[in-house]
Subunit: 339 residues, 2 copies
């Protein structure tokens, strides 16, 4: 939607040319606040999964949700939106929760079992639905930063984040607006049309399962950028059925394992784009259930964003999506121990 990407064949790069990559860090971090036994190092938990029972903030959990130790936004306070001269100021009201995805000190989604990933998705949906009840919030961003170059921070322990926001993200608005324009023109969802075209050509389909597809978008901004979309139309991630959730966990396990294999455990940002909470029947939101299609963006962080990208909003990608797809398709995975 107005976005141009330069697929730079002159500067073409094979996966092993993206350097320097930080070596995978498997060493123990005894002070990691996300490890089993260190529950006291986080703020009191918001929720947790304890299959064999047990007390909050004690042992026996397989997943914990805790408030961020250094939150970007705070849950307390009234939402105030006011002018200061020419500018608008808004109080930093919000919520910032950490989903600790495993009690063990592993960091990559590739090292989680499909069951663990499915549990993360289930709890994320619960938390989003719970945060939706707060009338101050318009959107919850669900994302994961993996690796220091992707903003994971000092502790290499697998976790995703939820940030409830009092305003809708501008990137989401752009996506919704583009999808809406297409819908007005064609009366079809643009993501459904892209899926159909991509499934026909197969050139950019990296992984496919019963209900999901991981594809390299035509105008990939970054090498090995992937979108994971449900094959059936759905605007709202929180409507995911248990069957589809298990299938999504499966495609994520495969996709992250392949990325890790092909790119030697790359730093990565993964971001959910889903329909916002409040949907009045005007403007952007009018047709949202028909025209928007939730998806996960997976962005390995292999290249540097510099003056050209900041100045133009365009991107330079040294690996075409077709090549990235080929490398991912050909990557062989060990026979899984689980799932």
């Amino acid at each position: 939607m107005g976005r141009w990407v330069i697929i730079s064949t002159e500067r073409a790069k094979r996966p092993d040319e993206f350097l320097p990559l930080v070596p995978p860090q498997n060493e123990k971090q005894p002070d990691c606040p996300f490890c089993a036994g260190n529950e006291g190092k986080t703020p009191p938990e918001i929720t947790a999964v304890r299959p064999s029972g047990g007390n909050p903030n004690g042992p026996g959990w397989t997943l914990r949700v805790v408030p961020s130790i250094s939150p970007l936004l705070r849950i307390e306070g009234k939402l105030e939106h006011r002018a200061r001269g020419l500018y608008d100021v808004c109080t930093g009201v919000g919520a910032h929760e950490i989903i600790v995805e495993t009690p063990e000190h592993v960091s990559s989604t590739a090292h989680l079992t499909p069951e663990q990933i499915s549990q993360v998705l289930e709890v994320a949906i619960q938390r989003i639905k719970d945060l939706e009840k707060d009338p101050r919030f318009k959107y919850v961003l669900f994302f994961k930063n993996y690796g220091p170059a992707a903003g994971e921070g000092r502790f290499r322990h697998s976790r995703s984040q939820l940030i409830a926001l009092p305003v809708n993200p501008i990137r989401l608005k752009d996506k919704l607006h583009g999808a809406q324009q297409y819908y007005e023109w064609k009366e079809r969802c643009i993501f459904c049309d892209i899926l159909r075209q991509e499934l026909d050509s197969q050139q950019r389909i990296a992984v496919e399962t019963t209900h999901f597809v991981a594809l390299a978008p035509f105008a990939s901004r970054f090498p090995f950028e992937l979108w994971v979309l449900p094959k059936i139309h759905s605007a709202d991630f929180t409507q995911l059925t248990p069957e589809h959730r298990k299938d999504l966990a499966g495609i994520l396990k495969i996709t992250f394992s392949k990325l890790s294999r092909v790119l030697s455990d790359p730093p990565c940002n993964t971001i959910l784009h889903t329909a916002p909470f409040r949907r009045p029947r005007t403007g952007y939101w009018r047709t949202i259930d028909a025209d928007f299609h939730w998806h996960l963006e997976i962005m390995p962080r292999l290249t540097r964003v510099a003056g050209f990208e900041w100045g133009t909003g365009f991107y330079i990608n040294p690996t075409s999506p077709e090549e990235a797809t080929k490398f991912l398709k050909e990557a062989e995975l060990p026979v899984p121990a689980h799932g």
Copy 2:
């Protein structure tokens, strides 16, 4: 214009807390293609300044413009714009020129003299005007990447870049669109209004000269982000008079010297935003000479862009623009040897 920034006082950072910074690299790089004596290592020059005469691609120059060794876009070929299924494809026609700002192996704008900076600006204007004659081009991006973390590359030799584009940058369109909306509402340039408000309050004015201001924008996305704007209204950078150009060189010398002093020689992207070449009297471009105001964006690269920023389009800034201004105002500079 719809952009929100979280000024994170909880995560507030003083200048010396932005780590790790790469130490300034002053070592010789004998194979640097931008050094005097190595003219043969670049493609033949496009233009150069030789105050005492001399032959092209020989010695005696104070500034050289050469084609990029690994261009993002190529000058040859016809501009073709076509559909491929749902997508648009455009041939990678463009131009990518490097302005070598000094024959000596120094890298930072802070180490150039005001006369050298003025010469860079003069030649950039000449080159933009020359590229404008090519009907395939709609915009020339003028920018500088300084430091490895900002994409400077292996050779630490002061240079800026010009990239002529067959389409208008989406970031420029957003800026033009926002400025146009404001103009329709107020019949005044938003940048002129911002300048007036900021000059009144002085809270975010880091440097001021006769004709220019370097200010920390109210919604700074990055710590120590600065905009350099002319005080008088002007949409088009290439209209700069010689007197104003010298003053601009002066404010840039001071601004980069202060940034270097306060932040220990930070990596930095500097980008010009100016009016595009073709201005039909409809849509975005209708009022462009009245509603747009050219400016340089200076973005020290001190923080990491991660999942939250990519997911939302919002930014988290741990240093308020008022604090950044205070640090820059207080920074003392050595008495300049030149100018």
